[in-house]
Symmetry: C2
Subunit: 452 residues, 2 copies
């Protein structure tokens, strides 16, 4: 039997496709990386089907790339070996909400907005919020984070258990429903962030949180990026449990004003949020006001009203789209590094110098509480000079981060874009990672050419 | 050359020993598990020496068991294959405190009290507090936790990077100093909790916290364990950020009163602690008081004074020693399971029934905010009937936990005591763990017979 026939008989003909439009849709992600067509798209409905597809792929000496929403930023889901793309959009059910345990069990194709809509009914929320409305499977795959990691942690911190289909088609659970465990090796940790190279996630049990009763958002304007970053360090050192703290640079505020119809002053700005009980929150906010004043804050504006807060965070989340909208015909190269917080002011300053030197349009936004920041560069992907300039900026900020104990990616993952830095960042540890990959996927069936 | 000669020339003769007393000291841990003598003890002073010892062990087809303070509770460090025990007590320096990054770099032989003494000078503390004054290397090895995990997380959450000597003598770093990373596979997670079976830790970079400005401790008495556990669930659901919440049962309060010279009522009791700013803490405490009253709390006593708080927590930490002291000639079998919080009341009730049915003296104490609890059973290790009774209790509480989505150990690790439950708990995942072990230590040099 031909590969496609076998897949059709294992799933059903209407969930196996070689349609050109579908192939094209699954040939790229949201990055600037060169697309590549897969041969076949499959849409499994359950774990058995996922297992069957992986086994068939192995028999036919072809490959499987798991695919969520396609919002990855480093080419993580591009099928460079062709083969099968496994689209999880039909496995999109919220299976169980255990409110007393603050746990939820979902299929990998559930998107974060879909999950939050369900959780709201129980007064709960899921904390991890990357820019895109990604799927939970995809977010676990790249170890995504977002604006709330400084308070609630990253994707890896939320995963209690995953059902995973391995390269040989066997099915495992990586953890359990207890809050902690010292039993066996920690498989949760290694599968989260493995970008589909070690197994296909078919079910996730995730930690959720009670919606805080009191939330205060703020926007604080500074005259320099240095002052803004120093203010964040001081707030953290004061022990104020900040829930979100985002830096948006001058150029990005301008794009934001155009796209989101805001009229903020185009200066380095912090977007902040605090959660807590009423009295505690008030005291935190008063203390924070003093700290930012000491750091030459020019203007601070608070928003406790839900609608106003949502507008503020929507504007922040839309910065990347604002750049795209403002530069028709160009693509966005987003790069992401993370440094120890004490190195952040220097890193952001150097990054701005790198962008200016490149001559490209670009902005800096970042989750400064974690030392994680992004550069958004607008490039003409058909112009090799633009790509070269962008790559040079990328090289420079990664080198800066690695020299100071940082990492080449804080939340976007390795994909293909950050593969060239793996040796430099991990040294001998890369050989250990490769041994694990080889032990668990000896035939290289799963998302080949990525991460290691 | 003989093994001992090679080791002497690689280290120095005074740091390689076959002295009988030293061999005996390194033949056991604090558990009831049968001791076994190693052949040689080595005391490395640096990473190169650790690497040399591992290479020599491999050449001589013998084994290496890394050893910290020997306070493990499941036979984790007992050298059942004889071989070399690597004692890290000479690698006991705090190497660097990066206060702006809330990070500290230590050698593996540093104990937690030693670290906290250093950190205090900077207004910082290390959060993980197992009962014993364990080494940081040992704590990473078993993924230890303790009373503060409900707020600050477990050992795995604190590890940013480790230097590790692998089974082939190569040296790797498992992470970096950034607050988060999506680069490569998460080696931090898999090495923490690997109990010396995947590599020897030679340096650890750990997350630390600012000492909270306001701390309030409390002791709340209940007439039933059920009420106490229900009160904890209600406090968590109310979103009160509790820093510690410990359950001590009636029998254990009696032992505590004898040993620590306290005069608490012998009833199920919660020991609690709250951290926060002044106003927030006050509001949390008021809210908590209402909640525990609703749950039939009989008496609640607060301690904001440092000395009084320390007395309270010392009494709690000394419960295990109180039992040992109160039962001369007997050894303590401590077992540790963890269940989803919603299953905790049932689990503790069943555990008490199991202890009573066994006829052994024993108590239940637990980190109830995590669903993690311990049974302390006093046994005569030379009496097979006692051991059989204790094993039966162990079997029963592990089975109860596994049937309800829990784990056979929340914080003590697998060692040899929990090996028999690995198949049942992990199913197919155990094969994955074994593949990782084989890939990284093909000759079985490192702590053989443990975990997988």
């Amino acid at each position: 039997m031909k590969l496609v026939e076998k897949l059709e008989s294992a799933l059903s003909p209407d969930r196996v496709s070689e349609n050109q439009t579908l192939l094209e849709q699954h040939s790229s992600d949201e990055s600037y990386h060169t697309p590549n067509l897969p041969e076949i798209i499959v849409f499994p409905e359950n774990t058995n089907e996922v297992s069957a597809v992986v086994k068939i792929a192995k028999e036919h000496d072809t490959t499987v790339v798991p695919y969520g929403f396609g919002s990855s930023l480093e080419g993580n889901v591009i099928p460079y070996d062709g083969g099968i793309v496994m689209d999880f959009s039909l496995m999109n059910k919220v299976l169980e909400i255990r409110e007393n345990d603050f746990l939820v069990k979902v299929q990998p194709g559930v998107t974060r907005s879909q999950l939050d809509k369900e959780l709201k009914k129980y007064g709960l929320f899921f904390s991890v919020d990357p820019g895109a409305d990604a799927t939970l499977g995809g977010m676990a795959s790249t170890n995504a984070s977002g604006t709330t990691a400084v308070r609630y942690g990253i994707m890896r911190d939320q995963v209690r258990d995953m059902e995973v289909v391995m390269a040989d088609g066997s099915v495992i659970h990586t953890g359990n429903m207890a809050a902690k465990s010292s039993s066996g090796y920690n498989l949760n940790g290694i599968f989260v962030g493995s970008e589909g190279t070690l197994g296909c996630f078919t079910e996730l049990t995730l930690k959720v949180y009670g919606i805080p009763e009191n939330i205060m958002a703020a926007r604080a304007e500074f005259s320099t990026v240095d002052d803004a970053v120093e203010a964040v360090i001081s707030i953290l050192q004061a022990g104020i449990p900040i829930a979100r703290v985002e830096l948006v640079d001058e150029q990005s505020i301008k794009q934001m004003n155009h796209f989101s119809d805001t009229d903020y002053n185009a200066v380095p700005t912090l977007f902040l949020e605090f959660h807590g009980n009423e009295a505690g929150l008030q005291q935190d906010v008063e203390f924070m006001k003093e700290i930012v004043k000491d750091m030459n804050c020019q203007e601070i504006e608070f928003e406790s009203d839900t609608a106003a807060r949502n507008r503020l965070w929507e504007a922040r989340h839309n910065v990347a789209y604002a750049y795209i909208h403002g530069h028709p015909g160009k693509k966005q190269m987003v790069t992401d590094v993370c440094v120890p917080v004490s190195e952040l002011a220097g890193a952001v300053k150097d990054a701005r110098a790198a962008v200016n030197a490149s001559g490209l349009e670009g902005g800096i936004v970042g989750h400064v509480g974690d030392g994680n920041y992004h550069i958004l560069l607008m490039v003409d992907v058909d112009n090799p000079t633009d790509i070269e300039k962008a790559n040079k900026v990328n090289e420079r900020i990664v080198a800066y981060a690695l020299e100071r104990g940082g990492t080449c990616t804080g939340e976007h993952g390795v994909g293909v874009g950050k593969r060239k830095y793996q040796e430099k960042e991990h040294g001998n540890a890369l050989a250990v990672m490769r041994k694990i990959k080889t032990a668990l996927d000896p035939d290289g069936v799963l998302n080949p050419g990525k991460v290691v």
